[in-house]
Amino acid sequence: MFVESGYIAIGVSFALSIYISLAALTGGIKKIPELIVSARWGLYTLPILLFVAVAALVNAFVTNDFSVRYVAENSNLAMPQQYTWVALYAGNAGSLLFIAIVFSLLAVIGILSIRKSLPHSTPYALTLMALVLTFFLGIICFMANPLERLPITPADGQGINPLLVHFGMFIHPPVQMTGLVSVTIPFSIAIGAMLAKRGGRDEWVDIGRIWGMISWLILTMGLLLGSWWAYTILGWGGYWAWDPVENSALMPWLAMTAFIHSIMVQKRRGMFRMWNMVIIIVAFTLSLMGMFINRGGPVPSVHSFAQSTMGWLFLMFMGVALFGSLIAFLWRMDNLVSREKLESLFSRESMFLFQNVLFLVAAFITLWGSVFPVLADVINDTTVTVGEPFYNVVVGPVLLVILAVMGIGPFFPWRRSTRSNIYRAIRVPLVAGLLTAIIITAVGIRQPVAILAFAVCGVAAAGIFNEWVRGTRSRMRKKEPIWIAFAKLIAGNRPRYGGYIVHLGILMLAIGAIASSFYSIQRDIMMKPGETYQVQDYRISYIDSSEKKYSDRDEFIGEFKVTKGDKDLGMMYPKQSFYREFRINATHAAIKSNPIEDFYIIPSQLSDDGGAIFRILLNPLVWWMWAAGPVMAIGTIFALSPQKRLSTNLVSKPEQKTISS
């Protein structure tokens, strides 16, 4: 029986992961290479075992085996076959299995990537990864086994949550889950190096940075895809609502952003050794917190589909992980002392430090807002809701300062700088920012906050372009044509110029977010077929409506003809589906998008005579937010691409040992 073999595979992989953590730890401490090798090979087998379990589950879905509880709860005969993939992680047990197999794969790649270059810390990193796996597999084994059988086989399953039936759902949840769990890899590498007393050697930094950026990129993509899903299907025209689960994914992202920046200081200057450990510990804890809130977290949210009662287990694991890694940190702190010192406040190092602190502040304020309702409930027995207005007021300004630091920080030189240096670096950006403010005020934008925010974006954008122009010009002096000069410039220092590309992506994101939150136009209007309505220079005619009956849902489709000025924009078909079994409405927006603005229609309430209330939105510059995704991905990959560096290390360094003792 397929299901049974999957069941056994899960049990075996749990036992195996316990063995790996014990063997790797003992092997590391007692220096027994055989044990370490066996632990490593144990890890390599885990994905295969888990693949058997996943295959069994997929097979149960495909064959509609409703004797398996998880299948019965998350699919039915009417479910289209391609949603098997979505159903796989639509519920609690399945998503845990998904996390486990993805993480086991990441762990294998992670170990393969450090095995040769970091032989001393590999056993400890392996131990940490195996411990995290043990936790997940233990939960799957004993509390949420997706392959568990029901005592009585039902004739049909309950079906998949209709809100998940969307293209974005094919990728957003798996990417988000992968992102959260992937933080474990740089964490294990860093803490592993620390435990092996190699923390002061900075040898883990290169690979740790690479894994940090991979994890950052996955988290970024998860967040963007989630926003895109919300924008097109949740049906209110927005993309971010400071929902607790959104926050729980944002917090580790903020911490990882701090990490991938501060790690650069350690890479270049051998500083911030302790600081980087603290940040990666924070990021790891927040990622566990993210998984905890997602799963039966205490705060209600749109993401409640994977809810369960095992939240407290995640909370406990998070506590143990935090406590354990802090103890380890204090215990190994002496190894992490850096011999370099901060030379000046006006240096790249201190800008990085400043940036780090800002990101952590944003993360902790978000954390505070997310846990406050629980605190208020427990301590004072009052129910409080903390939502968008709170975060806009308290996190918004921090994000704005971060943008400003992004604008000028990269132009401070390492070590120290003179006043004229700084002046030369920030002159152009500041003027550009001022110009932006003047221009947009002149054309009629009046909200002071919006003006300030756009001006800050202007500063940051001008800073990056200024850098590119200056570098390209100086190369052009050697008679290189402009494109070659530019290409050579950015290929010359990929971490730096890749970073600038990512920064541009962030700017696109920021501009889209600022414009659409200050200047979107929203109308809720009642329309009957044959009527027309005018918003700005958009003219929409409600041609007709149609209804279709499917096996699982009734679909209402509005048919609109849209013109802008004299230009015909074609037809738009906003949809609303009512899922009978779940008694849930899912809307599907019709969007005409261009770089200037999105024209967006969603049906919100239907009446019997074919009329309906439609929500019409004009969202400026949202296009840029989705375009930012690929830009950031390209920038990150560019920054990661391997590059030979000219070694500037002319003096052989004396052994570190003499310093720590």
């Binding site: 809701t385 954008a461 919100s604 510059l621």
Partner: protein, 153 residues
Amino acid sequence: MILAIFIAALTVSCYNAVDSSYSEKKAHELNETVMCPVCPGESIDQSQNPLAIQMREIIKNKLDQGWTDQEIKDYFVEKYGPSVLLAPPSSGVSLIIWIVPPIIVVLAILILIVVIKSMTKSKIVDDRLMRAKPSQKKVSEYSKRLDKMIDES
């Protein structure tokens, strides 16, 4: 140049938005601060639940009748309890939530100062490193590679 496109796009799109009517804007702003009681976490502006739609109607009517923002909020609080507001009031227990973020900021600045202080203090002077002389071979290798790089570029 891209900056110019940004600004152009920005001004065109935002300029449009200025003329939307005052009361509509006000209603929208209020909608965003009131939670839909049956769909946790979502504001009545976001939610398409019938109750949310009804509450949006109420807000519109009450604004037309000349109620102030505070009166409307109080009305909903009385009906559904204080958790109906998405931003906790700045009084009573909920005051704490507004106080803590500034405290976090102050703490962060303090930590920053401590970290900077501790980093600027030179802890260890590794005099072996200071005394070490660059080996002649390495220096000449380095300058050769530099020359080569300059020639190539």
